[in-house]
Symmetry: C3
């Protein structure tokens, strides 16, 4: 840190298993990646190339090389996995992971109907090739999954070999874990936490209020995802009780 | 594309007459322009320097040179045209176009009252100098133009020499084609399309939901404008059915 | 300016005492700072490193050097001052200002309870070391300070040695001077202006509608703050009557 302040909550350091931050890159240029890493690379644990943006992004290999040089793993958004699955191109997807030297992958069913046993098979097959993040929750605001189902799916996906399970939110933060308004489905989150260890969960929380809510519930070292590149530094200050939103909260605790 | 996926809607390629994307640059630096072009230049068909931002932007000539080298035409926002007209400086405006080597220009009346015949005269005069885009629709949310008038104005402006007509939305997407809430005036758009060929129209649609709506109505190769620089890649995935919003839609079609 | 337009409101130039623009940098990289200064440096009078972002920003000294070379003063957000005060580390805060060569500082009580006499003592102590901006208004949307109190506090803080007083808004623009919805507390602002000279006030106004409102009330050369880096050019056009929002307004006046 740049100077000394007393009573700052302890933060985990890299390689983190809790307290990690997943950034959503939805089309950064190489220089923009360099800029983000220069200023906030220490606080970025993993990067998702949002949905299927990798399909149309120029200089993809050069960009992946920049992340690799910084020791930051990258995975392709779950929608891309689904795009391959729905076209019956799973083996092509596996080749893409190899060709681009990717060591992480996401398995999801936010936009397709996928039998849950079949989803778990994909997880366990891919887990032999890469580290798998699996995602629970639909991108369709109409599809409300009850809490016991979230828990059941998360548990079986972890059992199938997922490294972590992701709670869905999209870039906008208004589906899955959240209501249309962006408000957290609090009962859902609290019920999940009674059964699934929090270090196994990556909560997508793109909006500041959502990040604050999770940090107050779980602490500085909650795993948060879908963070926009220019919100990494602000998020870090919220984790440390150094922004108005959590200022009081941590003073009482540390 | 970076890998192969089956059943992807066909996209037009440059030089496009349909399916083109107009980006709004409201003050990018030269390096930011370079970054945008590096990552998404193939998907950008024309750039608008929003409203009168060109008046206060430093290094304007150097910036225009970067776009020119990439083969991407640039035009100055219609509000600037209006600023010259309202000050009775039309010939000065023509000189500005020359001095900066601009080959496209916008004629609009979103912020001024301009007799429609007079507007068409400006279009036909400028059409001898540059390629003209003319814009229909007011920036004033209170001024509702009925559909028959939109059609009449669009047609006479095309007859006067406009290359394409633009449906107004502003940077925010809440006037002209859209309601205060950003919702599309669907009846208006559908009625326009019964009379004006869609390849002659450039729909300003800055919000994602607006882009999705037009793509579902008209297809992947609809002309869309006022796209923010960091939304070019996301828009391209929506056009291709590779983001949640149009994922199902195109699968049924291709 | 890049070309000549008649009837443009006169703008102050650097060093400005009115009409100045304060930008909020919440974690720009060095290259992003360079880009912002290249394109809009002439319109930026002072930069705030938002709240305590300076605590976690890498290469802080190098970044400050870029601002210094451009002749643009930088200060650390008031929340950082409060973080030191609440930990009883005021003298450490003074050392931080020295160590980083800062010539401006903010004194605020947006997130802490601070006796007002004590606040004024901090202002007068710091005023011997640096130029002080003091801020009035809470970050807590529930805490409504009545107008007479705003005025009393602003006046005593100026008397204590503050160079300018800041009206609080946060990055989001929905507390302090503004209602939850972002709407200006008009009566409050107008009452303040009956007592405090407007050149002594810096109004935080991150949202476009807020900027427009202040410009229409006070004029092109109102002091505005919490401007996002990519909104500096747009703001400049609003000040000059060259965006739809103030287009008519200034035509009648100039």
């Amino acid at each position: 840190m740049n100077y000394h302040l007393k009573q700052i909550p302890e933060r985990t350091t890299k390689p983190r298993t809790t307290g990690f931050t997943m950034v959503m890159d939805k089309g950064l240029s190489i220089r923009e990646v360099e800029d983000m890493l220069e200023i906030s690379g220490d606080y970025i644990d993993i990067v998702k190339l949002g949905w299927a943006t990798s399909f149309v992004t120029k200089n993809l290999k050069e960009k992946l090389a920049v992340y690799k040089a910084a020791g930051i793993p990258v995975y392709l958004g779950g929608t891309l996995f689904e795009a391959f699955i729905v076209r019956d191109q799973f083996s092509d997807y596996q080749k893409v992971l190899d060709e681009f030297g990717l060591e992480y992958a996401e398995v999801s069913d936010g936009s397709i109907v996928l039998d849950h046993d079949r989803k778990c098979e994909y997880i366990s097959t891919l887990a032999k090739q890469v580290t798998v993040l699996s995602e629970v929750g639909s991108k369709d605001a109409e599809k409300i999954i009850p809490p016991y189902k979230w828990i059941e799916q998360m548990q079986t996906e972890l059992d199938a070999g997922a490294w972590k399970v992701i709670g869905e939110a999209r870039e906008s933060g208004n589906v899955g874990l959240f209501r249309d308004s962006g408000e957290v489905r609090q009962g859902l989150v609290e019920e999940i936490l009674t059964k699934i260890p929090e270090e196994k969960i990556l909560w997508e929380a793109p909006q500041k209020e959502q990040q604050v809510w999770f940090i107050k519930l779980i602490g500085s070292n909650v795993n948060l995802g879908n963070i926009a590149p220019n919100e990494v530094i602000p998020l870090e200050t919220i984790r440390l009780g150094l922004r108005g939103d959590t200022f009081d909260y941590f003073l009482d605790k540390v």
